[in-house]
């Protein structure tokens, strides 16, 4: 949790006939971060054969990808991996799965064909529906059976029986018959159809004893308002279309138990094949290597010996031994082991990079620093409560598969931020911008509004000072962590001479002391010269030694070293000053948060000078929503920025390789 996990390097040789059993054991234990033999020994790897699993692996991957795709198009949630016996997975033939998927897809394509047919009918009817208003508005020339545009519109009468017959017959065509009224004992009907079916429609109309009438300008308006049947028909087709879609989903859903079972087995099979793809082989033996967390080394060793009945050769090497070997590119991976509740902060660390092996895992420190910064910028218990609720909803949605894992993790971070804001809100006595309860620490709102504050904090400058000291503490911790990292990695020159090394730290510490003394004297006098000379001047001079020491054997280049030294000094002095002052943004964002709330309260007051009314309540609600959204985002981003640029830059070496064992673990 404080440092990356210690690692051991495994080199193992097993008999070829044991390779499947060994792969299954490696997967079951899920602790080996494989290293290809070529990386360990590029010259010696030529005498070994690569594993011959590529073809099968591609088939397995393809089958699993296809299942995912079919579920996705059917809007069925993705399958969640569950533990499966590796022996069961080995018995599955991926080609037969692909064949079954082919037949399922063929079944789907048949339904798709029906969908397409219905859709084409919808398209045609919608064309009729679009044309009807054009006919009535006179935009097009009205046309009876002799017309020459796409739409053929006919008016006429037929018997009630004939009308019923007509409706039945027209169902096969993109056409619609609307009942407009009665004339004597006959039904007045408007028939609209696409011209391409004219002959069929005419034949139907003749069969129904349709007596055609001239269409007059007056009828055009009736045509326009008589589209109900057409819309009904389109609605009916859309219902059929929906049924086909449901049928399609059901087709997949009916196969879901089988597909799910096959998917699980394919996944394990894929993992087993991926493990085997990392093996190198000779005629009778299989060789593999990789990194294992030292704490789990014994269990793996015992497991491999048990599965091979002792017929194996296993070597374990330490990290130092491997670093000193002839494989300079071989780097131990970094495993960050943190409890589940710190995972959101581990995500923040991983986004920046992977810490180099053996260095500090900053997750816990980031959790503390990030939340403190956020709390100081977003100190309102009510707003915090809302954030925590939003985060909780996100986590619940994530557990139901409605949010991606990344968004779910972000929601967990939001819960943490909300909780912290509740605490700092209580410390500052702020509840939705109102002082419902007295502050436990100091009245942030009162200080910003100019009518509060007492004791240590009574002006905005006090808040700014607080954040500067907070920044000094964060940078100080960063420097100490850097020294620890450098000691652990035995990098002595940077430990002393780097700008974040001991000399840089002394300069920074003395600078802070000098600035504090200067401020304490009312910005009149600096401390005495001797301490400054010893604490700042001397370390600054000593920094020069870094260049001859780090360029040993490259010849004497005094001019060049002086240039580098001067630039380094500039970086040290301006960098530390900027880094420290950068923390004033914590106060800035906090003040902005309060000021925005004050502004909304004033707007609400202006909207309701005689006491609260609905408008003022709406303004306050919207104001709170805006502040929660805007300031929540700003505070979150600024906290991250301070961690990444002011804190991490002091000690975090993001050149590590992520520890990635092949395992059944889905997390």
């Amino acid at each position: 949790m404080i440092f990356t996990s210690p690692m051991s390097y495994l080199v193992a040789v097993v008999l070829k006939e044991d390779s499947d059993t060994v792969a299954a054991e490696l997967l079951a234990q899920g602790v080996l971060h494989f290293v290809k033999i070529e990386e360990l020994d590029p010259s010696g790897a030529g005498s070994l054969l690569p594993a011959d699993v590529g073809g099968e692996l591609a088939v397995v991957k393809e089958a699993r990808r296809r299942i995912n795709a079919l579920l996705e198009v059917s809007e069925i949630p993705a399958i969640v991996p569950v533990p499966v016996d590796t022996a069961d997975a080995s018995g599955l033939d991926p080609n037969s799965v692909n064949n079954k998927l082919d037949s399922l897809v063929r079944e789907m394509e048949v339904i798709r064909g029906r969908q397409k047919k219905v859709q084409q009918d919808i398209n045609r009817l919608e064309e009729v529906a679009r044309q009807l208003p054009l006919v009535s508005s006179g935009a097009l020339q009205l046309a009876g059976s002799g017309g020459s545009h796409f739409l053929a519109v006919r008016m006429g009468t037929l018997s009630p029986d004939g009308y019923d017959r007509l409706q039945g017959e027209l169902g096969r065509y993109p056409a619609v018959a609307s009942r407009i009224g009665m004339q004597d004992d006959r039904v007045i009907v408007m028939v609209a159809s696409m011209k391409r079916h004219d002959s069929e429609i005419l034949s139907i109309l003749q069969g129904a004893e349709f007596r055609e009438q001239e269409i007059s300008g007056r009828d055009a308006d009736r045509i326009a308002t008589s589209g109900t049947e057409l819309q009904d028909k389109i609605g009916e087709l859309k219902r059929q279309q929906h049924e086909h879609q449901t049928h399609l989903t059901e087709t997949i859903r009916n196969q879901l138990p089988t597909l799910s079972d096959q998917w699980q087995k394919l996944r394990v099979r894929e993992l087993l094949l991926t493990i085997r793809s990392q093996f190198s082989r000779t005629t009778h033996a299989v060789l593999f290597t990789g990194w294992v967390p030292s704490a789990r080394r014994t269990a793996l060793d015992e497991g491999l010996r048990r599965k091979t009945s002792g017929k194996c050769h296993i070597e374990w090497h330490g990290v130092r031994e491997m670093e000193d070997s002839d494989s300079p590119g071989l780097q131990a991976p970094s495993e960050l082991r943190n409890p589940g509740f710190l995972r959101p902060f581990q995500m923040l660390v991983s986004n920046f990079g992977t810490p180099a092996y053996g260095t500090v895992d900053p997750t816990l420190l980031v959790a503390v620093a990030y939340l403190l910064m956020f709390g100081l910028m977003f100190g309102d218990a009510g707003h915090g409560l809302i954030l925590a609720l939003v985060g909780t909803i996100g986590v619940i949605l994530g557990k139901r598969g409605k949010l991606s894992p990344g968004m779910t993790m972000l929601s967990r971070l939001v819960i943490w931020c909300g909780g912290t804001a509740v605490v700092t809100g209580m410390l500052f006595g702020s509840y939705f911008g109102m002082a419902l309860l007295p502050p436990l620490w100091f009245d942030y709102h009162g200080i910003v509004a100019g009518d509060g504050g007492a004791g240590m904090f009574d002006s905005i400058f006090d808040i700014l000072t607080l954040t500067i000291f907070f920044g000094v503490a964060v940078i100080g911790v960063g420097l100490i962590l850097n020294w620890i990292n450098l000691i652990r990695t035995r990098r002595w020159v940077p430990l002393i001479f780097d700008k974040a090394g001991i000399l840089g730290g002394i300069i920074y510490g003395m600078g802070i002391w000098a600035a504090a003394s200067f401020a304490a004297s009312g910005f009149r006098t600096l401390p005495a010269g001797r301490p400054l000379l010893l604490g700042i001047g001397l370390p600054a001079l000593l920094l020069f030694a870094k260049f001859p020491l780090s360029h040993r054997g490259e010849g004497v280049r005094i001019g060049w070293w002086v240039m580098e030294w001067l630039i380094e000094l500039l970086e040290v002095f301006s960098g530390y000053l900027a880094n420290t002052l950068s923390f004033m943004r914590v106060a800035g964002l906090g003040i902005a948060h309060v000021t925005l709330m004050i502004a909304f309260f004033q707007i609400a007051e202006m909207a309701s000078p005689n006491g609260q009314n609905l408008v003022s309540i709406v303004i306050l609600i919207l104001g709170n929503v805006l502040v929660i959204g805007l300031e929540g985002l700003s505070a979150g981003i600024q906290s991250l920025r301070l961690n990444y640029y002011e804190f991490f830059s002091k000690y975090f070496n993001p050149t590590g390789t992520n520890y990635k064992p092949i395992s059944l673990d889905v997390s």
């Binding site: 296809r66 795709a69 079919l70 996705e72 198009v73 809007e75 692909n98 998927l101 082919d102 897809v105 789907m108 394509e109 339904i111 798709r112 064909g113 029906r114 969908q115 397409k116 859709q119 084409q120 398209n123 045609r124 919608e126 064309e127 679009r130 044309q131 054009l134 935009a139 097009l140 020339q141 046309a143 017309g147 020459s148 545009h149 796409f150 739409l151 696409m194 011209k195 391409r196 279309q241 086909h244 879609q245 399609l248």
Partner: protein, 352 residues
């Protein structure tokens, strides 16, 4: 306004969008899908997800294509929001391509029904009824009973005069070719006017990119005519679009007169393209044409990336973005159709 002020935001925005475009490898994976259903499913999670939803709801590939085109069109239209003045006018001129294409499609429907006597009203549903910025109605065109009505439908639009000039020949030759060509020429003339209104640096970049695009169209046209139609030489050469970058009329003329026009083109481009052997080894004419199209497209992509690698604050990014977006949608459409017609994935690769 300084160049940075004019192009700073649009440059950042469009580069970010370009970085998220679907790469060729992704297209090849899509082409590898076992069925059209699985190929379309690959669009889920991309900016084209609505096209996948359209397919799930309708099973109609043509509607999927229409949806893809709508997404492309809206995206290109959106570029204008980031621009003002002459660059915005160029973006508008580029956008007009969609209107021209819609008009050409509508005219084809009209022509099939009134002149050729083979109605194709099923196509109407796939026409884009929303692109008409010039005020013509797609419905009025496809439903026009005769030429006079068609002219009436186009009167008052920039295309009315073109239609009036070319329609008699349409009836006489029973071909829309001259009318479509005149519309294309109008589009490229509009583009040239918009380009001339830009400052010198912008104008040079835009001319270069669009010139290569015009080269591509001209060369494909010449080869297609030579291999399949055997039209009179004067008519072919008279139908070329002007404004090409690398192939002037004399070069194209010599290519047309050559016995092996494809090889002549490859000869000119061989310093930029490594796939000439593939083209030479292919005997099927249609496949050779597809390979040529892919080769010329690659040349265009090469130029686009060259422009993008240069000075960032000019109109090049706008033209490049539009061409890249069009290319992306073209590739998706090609792959989906290839899956629909069961073309082998290997063959699809050479069409992209």
């Amino acid at each position: 306004m300084t160049r940075v002020a004019t192009y700073g935001f649009v440059n950042a925005k469009l580069r970010a969008r370009i970085s998220m475009m679907l790469p060729r490898d992704w297209m090849l994976q899509m082409a590898d899908a076992h069925s059209l259903t699985e190929a379309v499913a690959k669009l889920n999670g991309t900016p084209y997800e609505s096209a996948s939803v359209t397919y799930q709801k309708t099973g109609d590939l043509k509607l999927v294509e229409a949806e893809l085109l709508r997404l492309e069109r809206d995206d290109v239209l959106g570029v204008q929001r980031f621009l003002a003045g002459a660059p915005a006018a160029l973006a508008e001129a580029l956008f007009r391509r969609y209107e021209i294409e819609t008009l050409k499609n509508a005219l084809r429907v009209w022509f099939a029904r009134t002149v050729a006597g083979r109605p194709s009203d099923d196509v109407v549903a796939y026409l884009d009824h929303d692109t008409t910025r010039s005020g013509f109605s797609v419905d009025a065109i496809v439903n026009a009973p005769d030429m006079d009505s068609l002219l009436l439908a186009l009167s008052g639009t920039p295309y009315g005069a073109i239609a009036a000039a070319e329609l008699p020949e349409v009836a006489q030759r029973e071909s829309l070719f001259r009318l479509e060509l005149a519309l294309d020429r109008r589009h490229y003339a509009e583009l040239r006017v918009a380009i001339e209104a830009l400052d010198a640096q912008d104008s040079a970049v835009a001319k270069r990119l669009l010139g290569i695009h015009i080269d591509l169209l001209n060369l494909l046209w010449v080869v297609r005519v030579k291999e399949f139609y055997q039209l009179p030489e004067q008519e072919v050469l008279g139908s070329l679009l002007s404004g090409g970058a690398a192939f002037n009329e004399r070069v194209i003329e010599s290519i047309y007169r050559s016995d092996a026009p494809l090889e002549s083109i490859v000869g000119v481009l061989s310093d930029r393209y490594t796939g000439a052997e593939t083209l030479a080894g292919e005997s099927d004419d249609i496949r050779r044409l597809a390979l040529l199209a892919a080769m010329l497209q690659e040349v265009l992509m090469h130029e686009i990336h060259r422009v993008m690698g240069g000075y960032p604050f000019n109109v090049g990014i706008v033209v490049a973005y539009v061409l890249l977006r069009q290319n992306e949608v073209r590739m998706i459409t090609t792959v989906l159709n290839a899956r629909h017609y069961g073309i082998a994935p290997d063959a699809v690769g050479s069409m992209l």
